[in-house]
């Protein structure tokens, strides 16, 4: 972990979907630290600095997968191979990746597939059997679905508009899957409203799971308090972004509200 930005060059850019790109850069695991799936980095494009999940943990290389939704992310989308960015981290409490030989369900919505890709890639190598629910609004927004299939995951595509795979939300798809199968454990990342739905389903099914949350971040090192959530006060950047289901229960604002850069709730 490093707390001042390390300048790296973008070595590769993959156009994943019309709105999502993946950026690769070298990362000396020995000197900079080896991240665990579920951890994130702070990306500095010399205009702003924001959190991005680690989507791929390769051999002395990391990748982030960025959805263009505003000023910063659109600036990132303008980057070319060879451009520089600053990276610090990795930060946060990642996914529990100690499972072996288990039956696991991984659910990712939209760019929430980024950290799901990291944990699934890891757990497949450890001999787990993994069903992935890869959800997106439409076919060409599906993320990491093919590559995870190639790795050996059993991917259930799912689009809001039914343009590919299951037609409907990730929640519906998950409910369907649970009719026939059960799982030892689950991992979930996506829009909070989706995660809230999934949470209710998995709790009812009695499946323990980890959820990766997002909140506005400034320091990412647990000091500014910007990312603290009610009612326990936990910091998303330190105690999170990943929480077990029993902790999610104590995050009373989960699925309800969050705070902007000023701290105003919305």
């Amino acid at each position: 972990m490093i707390n001042e930005p390390k300048i790296v060059e973008i070595t590769d850019i993959i156009d994943e979907t019309p709105t999502i790109k993946t950026f690769k850069f070298d990362w000396n695991m020995k000197s900079l630290g080896k991240p665990n799936p579920g951890e994130f980095v702070m990306i500095w494009n010399f205009k702003n600095e924001k959190p991005m999940s680690i989507a791929q943990i390769n051999d002395n290389e990391l990748a982030i997968t960025v959805k263009n939704i505003g000023e910063f992310t659109s600036q990132l989308h303008d980057l070319k191979i060879g451009n520089q960015i600053g990276v610090r981290g990795s930060y946060g409490n990642g996914f529990n990746n100690s499972f072996e030989g288990k039956k696991i369900l991984a659910i990712g919505g939209g760019v929430g597939m980024a950290p799901i890709n990291a944990i699934v890639s890891d757990l497949i190598k450890k001999g787990n059997k993994i069903d992935v629910v890869a959800a997106a609004v439409t076919k060409n927004e599906l993320l990491y679905a093919t590559s995870l299939e190639e790795l050996g995951a059993n991917v259930h595509h799912c689009t809001d508009d039914g343009s590919f795979g299951f037609k409907g939300f990730a929640t519906d798809c998950t409910r369907n899957l649970l009719q026939d199968s059960t799982y030892d454990y689950a991992f979930v990342c996506g829009p909070e409203i989706m995660m809230k739905g999934i949470f209710d389903i998995l709790e009812e099914a009695g499946i323990s799971a980890q959820y990766s949350l997002e909140r506005y971040m400034k320091c990412a090192i647990g000091i500014c308090g910007q990312c603290c959530v009610d009612s326990e006060g936990w910091r998303i950047c330190v105690e999170g972004p990943v929480f077990e289901n029993d902790k999610i229960n104590k995050i009373t604002e989960f699925g309800k509200y969050r705070r902007d850069a000023s701290g105003v709730k919305y």
Binding site: N48, G233, G263
Partner: protein, 303 residues
């Protein structure tokens, strides 16, 4: 044994959360209180909401960090909701407020004084916008005006928080005392400092400059507490680079009646409060001290 009293306010131990660290929500402040702090100081807030500076707002340096968060806060109306939710039983709750004019300060005092035990005036943030923070605390006249205004409006004790970034801190300290401050806390972050990334030849912080905090500022904080202790009669709260009970003892010997802890939470977690309380109690028992009072200012004895 760890009890301390400042301006009639009882603290169950001398440790508080410093302003601006995990102090934006009632939730996180309650967590800090559960973790052993005797009191909490809120993030500094103003009348209106403010988003603060663009990121990067913090960067690590040798022995600490520099930050220019930029006094982001949701405004007093929203902040009151948080203050109301803090568990005040057995704990001291302090609101840190900031503004640019005497009126802003007195309005803020009126808004929140019912909800808190004390009010700390942030006239010392070294990276605040012009007219705010240290622009007040680096000027005796402005300090006097602001402190007087806050004091006049207040029924609870007023703490003036001092910046070390002045030619002579004792001058400002005496001014604040004259203006009616009941207590002084010191120091706010040092400098400001700057970190330049040499690969891209630019300052890392979007604000370029940021205040230094953490271990490396402790000698400066100790020195300031020591000097100010000899210049004023009101109680002092020590802040700056406190990581362990030894540091707390050093501040108390220098003249502090209580301390605030900020950056250590980043490195040591919220557990730092419990750890320090334990160590402090052990030390006091070993040395035969029966109260914090007995230790305040001991390093000033002529031997």
């Amino acid at each position: 044994m760890l009890k301390t009293n400042i301006c009639g306010v009882e603290f169950r131990n001398p440790l508080m959360l410093a302003a601006g660290i995990m102090g934006s929500n009632a939730s996180s402040m309650n967590w800090i209180l559960k973790s052993g702090a005797g009191g909490v100081v809120s993030k500094s807030f103003s009348l209106n909401s403010h988003p603060g500076y663009v990121n990067p707002t913090t960067v690590a340096v040798e022995g600490g960090i520099i930050n220019a968060i930029g006094l982001s806060n949701p405004g007093v109306a929203n902040f009151k909701e948080e203050l109301e939710k803090i568990e005040r039983k057995n704990s001291v709750v302090i609101a840190s407020i900031y503004g640019a004019t005497p009126d802003e300060f007195s309005s803020l005092v009126c808004e929140v004084q019912e909800l808190v035990d004390m009010i700390e005036l942030n006239i010392s943030c070294p990276h605040a916008m012009d007219g705010y923070g240290a622009s007040i605390g680096q000027d005796c006249n402005l300090s006097h005006t602001i402190v007087s205004a806050a004091k006049d409006a207040s029924d609870v004790p007023i703490i003036a928080k001092l910046t070390p970034n002045v030619t002579d801190i004792t001058e400002i300290a005496k001014t604040c005392e004259d203006a009616g401050a009941d207590c002084l806390s010191l120091i706010n972050t040092l400098g400001p400092g700057m970190k330049i990334n040499i690969d891209v030849a630019r300052p890392v912080l979007s604000n370029k400059f940021g205040g230094m905090s953490g271990r490396s500022i402790k000698p400066i904080a100790i020195s300031n507490v020591y000097s100010v202790y000899e210049s004023v009669d009101i109680p002092l709260i020590g802040v700056g680079g406190i990581y362990n009970w030894e540091d707390v003892v050093e501040f108390i010997y220098a003249g502090a009646r209580a301390v605030q802890i900020g950056t250590a939470i980043m490195d040591e977690g919220v557990e730092v409060f419990d750890h320090i309380n334990e160590g402090l109690e052990r030390f006091m028992t070993e040395k035969g001290f029966s109260s914090i009072d007995d230790m305040v200012g001991l390093a000033h004895r002529e031997l």
